[in-house]
């Protein structure tokens, strides 16, 4: 059937709309990028949209990379992301394996107690007091341990583990393989697509999170990058980065430093994103079928 005039007109209109969506989505990032490499005073004099940098100057980046807080924040975040994701993975995988065993005793009771926590939880203050009581306050464990398992992820992983053919496990058992061997040599290698999705979800979660650090960390030496960013972008504390320049200049470069900070902290995600995107989407699909 040939499309009618109206349908064809809608087709073009739709394409324009989608292009508009892309522009609205991407332009803020482009503006930030242009602003960050602009020469500070010409950027301040400029008004309206930027279609390229106003002048060219990388001093803002120099200031960002010389800022000890940002460097420290970067280091801390890398630590939290790697260690945190490792803890998440091990805990989620063993939990999923246990729940995927067909004839585990008390399985239904365990499952019930786990699912209850998805609907009802103690809330911020009791968790805060608990972390305090466990002596984890102001340590990185307060950030890594309380969120060790995302129940939803564990259930997704369990579903994937259940689809591993039973015959494979049985023949391994015949050869005397223990449950540990079966988990690490058979079940996990056969569930790599789901494991990959989990690594990405957990890792991006750790990279982007700031709230638990805000609540549990007192010592700014331990702040992750996002909390440092919050101080710079929202509490406006760029002063420490601009020692030595005259005050007008100082204000001007303070503006471009903010934009450079955004780029420096977001670039890893934006660069990796196009390659990883399909895994994320796959993960949502798995979750959608399950839920």
């Amino acid at each position: 059937m040939k499309p009618t005039v109206g349908e064809r007109a809608f087709g073009y209109f739709n394409i324009l709309l989608m292009i508009g969506l892309c522009v609205v989505t991407l332009y803020p990032f482009l503006y930030v990028l242009f602003a960050s490499i602009s020469e500070a005073t010409s950027f301040l004099q400029h008004s309206g949209l930027l279609f390229g940098p106003a002048g060219f100057d990388l001093r803002a980046y120099k200031a960002v990379f010389q800022n000890p807080m940002i460097i420290k924040g970067y280091e801390n975040t890398l630590l939290y992301v790697t260690l945190g994701t490792a803890i998440n993975l091990v805990m989620t995988a063993i939990g999923a394996y246990v729940l995927s065993r067909p004839n585990l005793y008390f399985k239904n009771i365990i499952m019930f107690f786990i699912v209850v926590t998805m609907v009802f939880h103690g809330g911020l203050i009791p968790s805060y007091l608990l972390v305090n009581q466990l002596g984890m306050m102001n340590t990185m464990w307060a950030i890594l341990i309380p969120g060790a398992i995302n129940t939803f992820n564990m259930i997704i992983m369990r579903t994937s583990f259940q689809s591993v053919p039973v015959s494979l496990e049985e023949s391994a058992r015949m050869d005397g393989a223990s449950d540990w061997t079966i988990l690490f040599r058979i079940v996990i290698p056969l569930s790599m697509p789901v494991i990959a999705v989990m690594i990405l979800w957990y890792a991006v979660g750790h990279w982007n999170s700031y709230f638990s650090a805000l609540v549990y960390l007192r010592n700014s030496e331990k702040y992750p990058l996002q909390l440092v960013l919050r101080d710079i972008l929202i509490a406006n504390s760029t002063d420490s980065m601009m020692t030595g320049s005259a005050s007008d200049d100082k204000y001007a470069i303070g503006e471009t430093i903010k934009y450079a900070t955004i780029i420096v902290s977001t670039l890893p995600i934006i660069c990796l994103y196009p390659f990883l995107q399909k895994y994320f989407v796959k993960g949502v699909m798995i979750g959608a079928i399950k839920g």
């Binding site: 059937m1 009618t4 349908e7 809608f10 087709g11 739709n14 394409i15 709309l17 989608m18 969506l21 892309c22 991407l26 803020p28 503006y31 309206g48 805990m91 063993i94 394996y97 246990v98 065993r101 585990l104 107690f113 786990i114 926590t117 009802f120 939880h121 103690g122 809330g123 911020l124 203050i125 009791p126 968790s127 805060y128 007091l129 608990l130 309380p146 449950d179 988990l183 991006v204 990279w207 982007n208 700031y210 709230f211 609540v215 996002q226 909390l227 960013l229 972008l233 929202i234 903010k258 955004i262 902290s265 977001t266 934006i270 994103y273 995107q277 994320f280 989407v281 949502v284 699909m285």
Partner: protein
């Protein structure tokens, strides 16, 4: 007699199973410990909502005070403001954010060119991965007195507006930035639902001479209706909760009148001002109401249609 032998036999099988699969039970231990400590621990701690918590006496030893903290929250000057702000942000999200994702999925479904479609999808998912701190930081830069938006409206002779310092703008900014960040990602689940619609339904509709618009109206939308209903139920269940993470970044005392929600109030009073029992009560009230909301939304939907969460 037979009952006790039955128990004995069951015990024997459990012991045999423990011997054979001891590793599974060892694996279960840290997982169970995690849930007991970090999920049931806070639930146990919730009792301080009915006590006057004194750190020196601990959770168990602090004296009971009944509903004192609930009463003082309900009678407090901020109660209605917090309820109103929390609900209004959710209502705005339901009115704008919720349909936006559905509309985007339907529009993407009409894009014929596969490569173009993938590019649009990739671009529209991107903001979902940007941290909320960066999004808020960009909002501060763009919406400040001398920011980009004021430069643009200034060109039309409009006086600069300090958007983030004016209470009247807060809800609009909160919800619209949320749509900007989440619309693409939110559309994935509807696209997945569209992909599962039986293609013969479209063929039959075409046979009957249905235009693309009619096909969308009578095949696609009914096809994704269960998904829409389930997400709607979830959203209703969240009617009385707005996450504190983004509000904490965007609000300030000047905008508290529209921006302060229950979760941010709990953070301020509890973590910053150490009124633990009072804020535990506020949090418990919030959880209980949310629980009631989601259960009723589910049963209403069960009555009206076949769709339900459980």
């Amino acid at each position: 007699m037979s009952r006790s032998t039955g128990n004995w036999a069951a015990l024997q099988t459990i012991r045999a199973d423990l011997r054979r699969h001891w590793a599974v039970y060892v694996m279960a231990l840290p997982v169970i410990a995690y849930y007991v400590i970090f999920h049931y621990g806070p639930m146990y701690g919730l009792q301080i909502a009915f006590k006057d918590f004194q750190p020196a006496k601990g959770i168990w030893g602090s004296p009971w005070v009944g509903f004192k903290h609930f009463v003082s929250f309900f009678n407090g000057i901020y109660f209605w403001r917090l309820i109103k702000n929390t609900i209004l942000i959710n209502v705005y999200e339901l009115l704008f954010g919720f349909p936006a994702a559905i509309v985007l999925a339907l529009l993407l479904n009409e894009v014929r060119n596969g490569v173009f479609k993938r590019v649009v999808q990739t671009v529209s998912y991107l903001p979902h991965f940007i941290s909320i701190v960066v999004v808020a930081g960009m909002m501060f830069d763009f919406l400040g007195r001398t920011g980009l938006i004021n430069q643009i409206i200034g060109a039309f002779g409009i006086e600069p507006i300090d958007f983030l310092k004016e209470a009247g703008w807060f809800r609009f900014l909160y919800v619209s930035s949320g749509v900007w960040q989440g619309v693409g990602w939110g559309s994935i689940i509807y696209l997945a639902a569209i992909a599962t619609i039986d293609p013969t339904l479209y063929e039959a509709a075409r046979m009957d001479g249905a235009s693309r618009w009619k096909q969308t109206l009578h095949v696609t939308i009914p096809g994704i209706m269960p998904t829409i209903v389930i997400l709607f139920i979830l959203q209703m269940g969240n009617m009385l909760s707005v996450g504190s993470e983004k509000v904490l970044l965007l609000y300030n005392p000047l905008t508290y009148s529209t921006a302060d929600v229950i979760s941010t109030y709990v953070y301020r009073k509890g973590v910053l001002e150490a009124s633990y029992s009072f804020t535990a009560a506020v949090g418990l009230f919030n959880s209980v109401v949310s629980f009631i909301l989601i259960v009723s939304a589910n049963s209403i939907s069960k009555r009206l249609s076949e769709n339900k969460l459980w």
